[in-house]
């Protein structure tokens, strides 16, 4: 009905790649994580652990690439535009986000009929995406704390002692997996519930026409105007 245009400038190709790698890594880590938690089929432990130990590095390197990209790659600063600026601007509060937290909450709680104005990412979306960074780092910290080659590093041991030993660390690591599962479930839901245009762009780098917005968040044209 009134969806914004999705242009490639919103997700430059490098971010399409980082998103794919992220998706594959998280899926691989979750499957192998569940297996390590309880080996539900015989015969696969070394494969699953190998997969886990491989993708944990992929995930972290990918995060590093994504963060470097934020400072070095330009991307669209809002929905429905081809105007670009350094990507990190999308991750800090932007003019269009100001005062919009409450309207977004109301929108999703069905207390507001109209779609709130947002930048490329709305307030809640921005918080949720940014939250994946500490979540990944927490997975890494708790994971390395229970990984043979690194578990006796001083700053990991300090954490292991603080939480009450390696069993507690494992349980926290396990719950971080559930944190990822919850994030991903909500993320998939919200990304697609109003239409699959955003997914077409982030996965297939395929553009779709729609509304265009000006710097004040007003609709200024495009398909559906």
């Amino acid at each position: 009905m009134a969806h914004p245009a999705h242009y490639r400038e919103a997700h430059p190709f490098i971010f399409v790649m980082t998103h794919w790698i992220n998706l594959v890594s998280i899926v691989a880590l979750t499957i192998s994580g569940f297996y390590i938690h309880y080996p539900f089929l015989p015969g696969l432990m070394s494969v699953m652990r190998g997969m886990h130990f491989f993708f944990m590095f992929v995930l972290l390197i990918n995060l590093a690439v994504r963060i470097i990209g934020a400072f070095t790659v330009k991307s669209a600063t809002r929905l429905g535009t081809r105007e670009v600026d350094t990507d990190i601007k999308n991750w800090l509060p932007q003019k269009l986000n100001r005062g919009q937290m409450w309207p977004w909450l109301k929108y999703y709680l069905f207390l507001k009929k109209e779609h709130p104005i947002g930048a490329k990412y709305g307030v809640l979306q921005k918080i949720a995406y940014l939250f994946t960074i500490p979540l990944t780092l927490a997975a890494a910290y708790t994971g390395f704390a229970i990984w043979g080659p690194t578990m006796d590093w001083g700053f990991l041991i300090a954490g292991t002692d603080a939480v009450g030993g390696p069993m507690a660390m494992r349980i926290i690591h396990y719950y971080i997996m559930w944190g990822f599962i919850l994030f991903t479930a909500i993320h998939i839901y919200l990304a697609n519930i109003e239409g699959t245009d955003p997914s077409k762009l982030i996965f297939k780098w395929e553009e779709t026409e729609g509304l265009q917005f000006d710097a004040e968040g007003r609709v200024v044209g495009g398909k559906g105007h």
């Binding site: 009134a2 070394s46 409450w102 030993g165 390696p166 069993m167 507690a168 109003e194 609709v219």
Partner: protein, 388 residues
């Protein structure tokens, strides 16, 4: 002289059915445990022989099951370790000396007067009930420990109870039990403590530590303290996990698991990970030193490691046949982590499903609702200010 001493010890050992060869082999395994080469074997043998004339050792019992005493004493057929312990001049073992009553206590008292003895402490320190959970010879266990600790050259806390309260301090810990080092810290007594967890303690470790401390002189040089980890445990015993050295590790890697007891997989000696083996989280060298005269140890005997060498081991490991511990939820009680995760995920999934129905009902599923013309707060401002 030294030669006569040697004869003396071999006579003593022979009288108990231990051959010279057995004894030297035993000294060899102590050397290995201490990380020393075979070249040290004669030195250790000689040191054990001289042992009786070095520092006296006293064994006191706190709140525990005396399982550690039992493990050491192995009354019906003493092994080399037991005999060596005897030779090492254990002047007083509280539990075993009790029949001697006042006389035994007086003998212990005489040792306490003279600083420099080794205090071996078994059992937890029970602070509850004003210390009255344990009374010996008219005083509380707490008073006894406070009396015996300051003059000791070092304290060897044997068994998990002495290390941190062990099973006695498992939830809800009615006796307010704690470990020796924690209690001494509270009381400002700074005698060095060597912690030897597991439930019960492994006699081989006690011998190794006594040899290290008493005979190789590592206490005087302070070298023993460098050999301890941050929990006061000797690194050469508690530096690697069970899992690192487990003979079933190959089965673990290959994914050959015991999922249920009484199955073919159990008979085949597969890995016990799915039935709760705590080996991956437990730092002891049980698979190397083994138990009961090196006959076997838990996993080799077919039982998953229950993690008795870990700190807070009961609460951290129970239920022992589950992979993860229980979490004590207020009101709900003990709950498995995956039950909690399942409930939270179920609620989230239901929430999303209900939300999706709402999105459909409000017609937002094909492109979302129309966009607002301007932000709500700008609208309000305009109303208030009557314009931009």
């Amino acid at each position: 002289m030294a030669h006569e001493d040697h004869d003396a010890i071999y006579d003593l050992l022979a009288a108990r059915g231990v051959s010279r060869r057995d004894f030297l082999a035993y000294c060899g395994s102590i050397a290995a445990l201490l990380g020393l080469s075979e070249a040290y074997v004669p030195q250790i043998a000689a040191a054990v022989n001289r042992g009786a004339r070095l520092k006296p050792a006293i064994w006191l019992n706190g709140g525990a099951c005396t399982g550690c005493t039992e493990a050491i004493a192995q009354a019906d057929s003493p092994d080399v370790a037991t005999i060596v312990l005897e030779i090492l001049s254990l002047d007083f073992i509280e539990t075993l000396s009790m029949a001697q009553g006042e006389d035994a206590l007086a003998a212990a008292e005489a040792v306490f007067e003279e600083p420099g003895y080794i205090l071996i402490y078994e059992g937890s320190v029970m602070k509850g009930f004003d210390g009255n959970a344990l009374r010996i010879g008219g005083i509380t266990g707490l008073e006894e420990l406070e009396h015996a600790a300051p003059n000791a050259a070092a304290i060897v806390a044997v068994g998990s109870c002495a290390v941190d309260g062990g099973f006695v301090m498992a939830r809800p810990n009615p006796a307010d039990a704690t470990g020796v080092s924690m209690y001494l810290q509270e009381k400002g007594i700074d005698t060095p403590v060597v912690n030897l967890p597991t439930c019960p303690v492994n006699p081989e470790w006690v011998v190794a530590i006594l040899v290290d401390v008493l005979l190789l002189g590592t206490l005087e040089t302070g070298a023993i303290l460098d050999k301890l980890d941050r929990h006061g445990r000797p690194k050469y015993i508690f530096g690697q996990t069970i899992h690192d050295n487990c003979p079933r590790r190959g089965h673990f890697e290959n994914g050959n698991f015991v999922y249920e007891f009484g199955t073919e997989q159990e008979a085949l000696g597969y890995c016990l990970y799915p039935v709760g083996c705590k080996g991956p989280q437990t730092y002891t060298n049980c698979p190397i030193v083994r138990w009961n005269r090196r006959a076997s140890w838990c996993v080799e005997a077919g039982s998953p490691c229950i993690g008795c060498g870990s700190l807070d081991w009961v609460d951290v490991g129970a239920p022992f046949l589950n992979r993860h511990r229980d979490l004590p939820l207020p009101e709900v009680g003990n709950t498995q982590p995956n039950t909690i995760a399942g409930v939270v995920a179920g609620i989230a999934a239901a929430g999303l499903a209900v939300h999706a129905v709402g999105m459909k009902a409000t017609g937002r599923t094909s492109g979302g609702a129309p966009y607002e013309e301007m932000k709500e707060r700008d609208k309000k401002r305009m109303k208030k200010g009557g314009g931009e």
